[in-house]
Symmetry: C2
Subunit: 237 residues, 2 copies
């Protein structure tokens, strides 16, 4: 077993600049085990190097959902960490080594990630909550002062509203929220902020559904390549 040089949980946030994706490494300093959340194929070599530098053994590669805006790095990470298991929600429809559903816990020792299903952006969206770090990793379900779009990939704004209100806003208000993307250079938010200041999610459910219907967003640049590849864990690209 590798031994971490640190005396407390290891938490690292990373960025992939092309898709403005945030990737997270969480490591247990006692067991030397780690998970990575939402790795991107373009930054696999950087992430492998950092995990090795930190003397961490990657156990799980967690995708919060089948991404439309970048290709997952979970398949690429396997060449460096052959025993790593990729993880997706059982409702995602995508291929993975392990499927999780609401209430399950991903256990790496001192750190335990509770799975909360938060559908609405896609059917298979999950949020991971780590209570020791008082942190939630929401993927695209809840973004900073925004939320994931609901106009493709089984998007359902009514379901998204319920997900955020029932599974994220019920966490303690000082829990930090780490999202999948941000285009303004903001790296973290909190349950308190989004519950009180998110201009979309503080609306009534009816107003929210109407608002999401009228967003008129551009078609995501990478969706035609990214979704088919991510349905098979990033193997097809």
């Amino acid at each position: 077993m590798k031994v971490s040089p640190f005396n407390s949980p290891i938490f690292r946030q990373l960025i992939e600049f092309k898709s403005n994706t945030y990737t997270y490494i969480l490591g247990c300093h006692k067991t030397g085990k780690a998970v990575i959340i939402d790795p991107v194929v373009d930054t696999v070599s950087r992430d492998v190097q950092l995990l090795k530098d930190l003397k961490l053994d990657l156990i799980y590669g967690l995708n919060t959902h089948v991404h439309a805006d970048h290709i997952t790095g979970t398949n690429g990470l396997k060449s460096a960490f052959p025993s790593m298991k990729s993880v997706l929600c059982s409702k995602s429809g995508g291929q993975a080594d392990k499927y999780v559903s609401d209430g399950e816990v991903i256990d790496i020792g001192g750190l335990k990630l509770e799975v909360r299903e938060t559908p609405g952006h896609t059917n298979g969206c999950v949020t991971y909550v780590e209570h020791t770090l008082k942190s939630a990793f929401t993927g695209d379900a809840l973004l900073i002062r925004k939320c994931g779009r609901t106009d493709f990939q089984q998007g359902n704004s009514s379901a998204l509203y319920d997900s955020v209100h029932k599974k994220i806003f019920t966490l303690p208000e000082d829990y930090l929220i780490y999202v999948g993307h941000n285009y303004d250079g903001i790296l973290q938010t909190s349950v308190w902020e989004e519950k009180n200041l998110n201009p979309r999610l503080t609306k009534s459910k009816e107003e929210f559904v109407e608002f999401m219907k009228n967003l008129k967003l551009d078609y995501p640049k990478q969706i035609d390549a990214a979704v088919p590849a991510n349905m098979v864990d990033g193997k097809d690209h």
Copy 2:
């Protein structure tokens, strides 16, 4: 006095994408007072909004040094926080409302930033250490697996080597290091990592000086506008 909605110290990292600059907000949840480290003029309105959202009153705008690669936001932040004082090292040669030197402490209540002079990239470089958060904010003195260049603005590679070894590597190994820039999307490092893995600073001092002499870096794009502006606290641009 404003009252923070949180029960623990507030820490936020932010990015300005054009110059890949990292900006930091540190706030005391008891006093509602905050400092910002290395704000960029292009992101002033974002930072003002975030500080107001967090119910924080900005007391100090700290620049780790006179920047060459972006114009500081400290002057711009004053329109929203008129009592904010800009801060520079007394050895920087630049204008500021308050000058600090080695050993001083910037006190905002529960959070206290110890000033450590770390010259070498410029004469007036300082690192701020916050012991509660076990974190050091090194500006350009120490970067992730790199360090600030020493070929302009009174750069001195021998001084930089001593600064890092005497003022940063003497901190406990699990202290996190938050730098001024990173171009690979890595957001934080640690004393342990840089002490053991930094390919420049693990060299002998003689080898380091030789290495820095041969870097042959491009002239920074914004230096001709940024340095004169930052010598007068970002007022001249």
